[in-house]
């Protein structure tokens, strides 16, 4: 999977490394900015209020 991706990227090794680094940073930015905030809405780990809303109380 990653090997195929590596081969599909053009240029010498250092260019490929830079591209991969940029790609990894982009993925992390997407996760931190949008994916994780959305996912965390579905998880109860940080609930701190009292109430009858959900199974864990919210």
């Amino acid at each position: 999977m990653y090997a195929a991706l590596w081969r599909s990227v053009p240029g010498p090794t250092w260019v490929r490394s830079l591209l991969f680094l940029a790609l990894a940073l982009l993925v992390v930015a997407l996760l931190f900015g949008w994916v994780f905030p959305a996912v965390s809405q579905l998880l109860p780990f940080t609930d701190n209020t009292v109430g009858a809303g959900t199974a864990t109380g919210r």
Binding site: M1, L31, F32, F36, F45, D47, T49, V50, G57
Partner: protein, 227 residues
């Protein structure tokens, strides 16, 4: 062929592992970084508003009539948590509200009012304003600064309840429906840390209401004796 499949499965599992680690880093570290910055900014803008006498969006009970940009209407200071501890109090207790500060339960009493001024805050993550809530002891001060007055509460009781025990935020805690006569404060947060199975609850009582013009931080925000 089999080798190839195993190789793919291995890479997939590694990717999942990295994703989980990244999620933990985001939840436990990055949410604090972002929320601390945002909450500091809200506290500073509240301090400026209070100093300038700007109270346009706030009703007579010190709770916003209309939700403003951030819905913040007070600053809570707790000397036990440090001399520079200051967090905004925001109207509402929805998840997105609680990332901006300490949330005021909608419908509970206003700051300093007869009844129960009930607040919820994160114990961990999102700036964790109530991280040390279990260190509060009887007599510790919780100071709530509003545009007009500064209210000093003293901790009277602490307990651990189940998430469904809504009577802790009733006007008379433990007796829902009864007419309140006292001016009380309630803080709720999750318990134990990094879990949501229980709630840590701290009750307090109003001991002093000081007009802003006569407010003397040095007299009221002294560090409590070591626990």
């Amino acid at each position: 062929m089999l080798r190839r499949l195993v190789g793919w499965a291995g890479e997939l599992l590694l990717t999942l592992g990295v994703l989980l680690l990244l999620f933990a880093a985001w939840q436990l570290w990055w949410t604090d970084v972002v929320a601390d910055r945002e909450q500091d900014g809200i506290v500073r803008s509240l301090e400026e508003d209070f100093a300038d006498g700007r109270t346009a969006e706030v009703g007579t009970d010190d709770i916003p009539r209309t939700a403003g940009d951030d819905g913040a209407f007070a600053i809570v200071r707790i000397p036990r948590f440090g001399a520079d501890y200051a967090r905004p109090v925001v109207e509402g207790t929805d998840r997105d509200v609680l990332t901006r500060g300490v949330g005021h339960y909608v419908g509970s009493a206003g700051p300093g009012a007869v009844g129960n001024f009930a607040l919820a805050g994160h114990r961990t993550t999102y700036g964790r304003p109530f991280h040390d809530v279990d260190r509060l002891e009887g007599g510790d001060r919780v100071v709530v600064e509003t545009a007009g007055e500064v209210f000093v509460y003293e901790v009277t009781e602490r307990r651990i309840v189940r998430p469904r025990d809504v009577e802790v935020i009733a006007a008379v805690p433990g007796s829902p429906g009864r007419e309140p006569t006292e001016r009380l404060l309630t803080l709720t947060s999750c318990h134990p840390r990094y879990s949501a199975t229980e709630r840590f609850v701290v009750h307090g009582r109003l001991v002093e209401a000081v007009p802003r013009s006569q407010w003397d931080p040095a007299a009221w925000l002294a560090a409590p004796k070591a626990a």
